[in-house]
Amino acid sequence: MYRVYIVEDDKGIAEGISNCLSAWEMEVRIVSDFRNVMAEIEEFVPHLVIMDITLPFMGGYHWCQEIRKTSSVPIIFISSATDNMNIVMAMNMGADDYIPKPFDQSVLIAKVQALLRRTYDFAKGSFELKAAGAVLNTNDNTLSYNGEKIELSRNEYRILLTLMENKGKVVSRERLMEALWETDCFVDENTLTVNVGRLRKTLESVGLNDLIKTKFGVGYILEDK
């Protein structure tokens, strides 16, 4: 399990980040004492640090430099300052990436995963989602089931990913369309229906019948049997 350490003074954001990373089976810890960030890092030994720039007592740049004295753990800055100067400054201080606030969950997860993938070449989960014995791999957009591996089209992958992230919950058609729009597939409702139909056929080809159930008038659900 990857450990992610969050240094952010806004509770809402810290918990929001924590919730969406937990869905990917990452262990998340939120800073508790802003004076002792280094001690907390030494104790928790995170694989990745997410840090705000403006913090109480000492700013993010300070901690970033402190961390860099002893560790090369990847650091992502999040900040509401979007001018180029701040981004350049953050990178110069030793940060690995920069996400301007406000950001979308999917952007955060994609950046976190990309950074983890680049930094650590050993698998620790966090790049795959499991449901009903099927494993969706985000590294190569494939689905494995009973030793069989199939490639998914971009839209199929995106739909299945969203359903698996929310397994056991009804996912509205709107949410699925939003997920597709995030990857620049500007689909309408009819196209979504067609895409779900195709995904079902693909799943059936490896014996995953009825993995996706329709909730009439609402959306779809993928249950972890």
């Binding site: 929001g16 606030k101 509205s172 729009w181």
Partner: protein, 320 residues
């Protein structure tokens, strides 16, 4: 030489007096019955002296005039000039003081609004993250409102940055699709919620611009299109290379409003119906477009839809 009549006007009294005296001389000489040579000779001599003195004086006059034109004060030659000089210097000083005061007030204000805009982004970010965790009709509506708040904050920042000297432009060649796609993505929820379809297949055009500023324009235009369209579609296309069109099937703009929609604070008929309109979005678009060297224009027919065209070509600026 244009100054000659001006000079003669300024010296008219002296010249008139001189001529009057000459006339007195001539008249008295003639009355005393003197020979004409005795009359003409001194008159010609004194006219020559007048001419030489006049030319010298005029050169001085021109020099002082050109000094004053450069807003430099020549040395005062009389008490009256000295008085004027004092008044002017006092006025100058006062103007400078009030300029300094107002610019420091203005800077304070800009600084505060900038800080405010960054402060408010944190709660927006928190709400966005937490709303995304919930998949419901309500959260989607809230998200729509949140997007609107966010775009108003962007407008504040744009408004402040437009007049600021420290505005950072990064002018280089950009792929237009890289600017349009994120802008469209921003409004995905509104599109989906209102069941509007989007016709956009990429425009495949590169242009020299600033991506942040052009994004602002594109986002504002798409935002308006989505806001004022309740059914149908929004199309983003480029029929003529360099002219980006964003067309909707919305309520349209009345023809009498059309020429003024890019003015500051002008809301027109639609704006009066919809209390949210501030009349500032398109005004900012126009300002930003002007500073980027792009052109923005609108066509519309009431009840059928609106087409905003952005001419992103520019020949007047070079890559830095």
């Amino acid at each position: 030489m244009k100054l000659l009549p001006e000079y003669l006007k300024a010296r008219s009294k002296v010249i008139f007096l001189f001529l009057a005296l000459e006339v007195i001389f001539i008249v008295t000489d003639v009355l005393f019955g003197m020979r004409s040579i005795i009359v003409i000779y001194p008159v010609l001599l004194s006219l020559a002296v007048l001419l030489i003195a006049g030319v010298a004086d005029m050169l001085l006059f021109c020099r002082r005039h050109s000094m004053l034109e450069r807003e430099e004060l020549p040395e005062a030659k009389s008490l009256i000039e000295e008085d004027y000089r004092k008044i002017i210097e006092k006025l100058k000083e006062e103007a400078e003081m009030s300029r300094l005061n107002s610019s420091s007030e203005y800077n304070n204000m800009v600084e505060y609004y900038t800080v405010w805009a960054h402060q408010i982004k944190t709660p927006i970010a928190a709400m966005r993250l937490n709303l995304q965790a919930e998949d419901s009709e309500n959260s989607r509506k809230l998200m729509g409102d949140l997007n609107r708040i966010e775009s108003y904050v962007e407008m504040v920042l744009t408004f402040l940055r437009l007049d600021s000297n420290s505005t950072d432009y990064l002018i280089k060649e950009y792929d237009l699709d890289e600017i349009i796609r994120p802008a469209v993505r921003k409004f995905s929820r509104e599109f989906i919620l209102k069941r509007l379809s989007l016709e956009y297949e990429g425009v495949n055009f590169k242009t020299i611009t600033d991506s942040k500023w052009l994004s602002f324009i594109v986002e504002q235009v798409i935002s308006n299109a989505v806001k004022y369209t309740s059914e149908g579609k929004i199309s983003i296309y480029m029929n003529e290379p360099g002219i980006l069109c964003i067309e909707d099937t919305g309520i349209g703009i009345a023809s009498e409003d059309l020429p003024r929609i890019f003015e500051n604070g002008y809301t027109g008929f639609n704006g009066r119906e919809d209390k949210r309109a501030s009349g500032i979005g398109l005004y900012l678009c126009k300002r930003v477009a002007d500073s980027l060297g792009h052109k923005i224009s609108a066509e519309s027919s009431l009840g059928k839809g609106t087409k905003i065209s952005i001419d992103v070509r520019r020949s007047d600026l070079r890559v830095e």
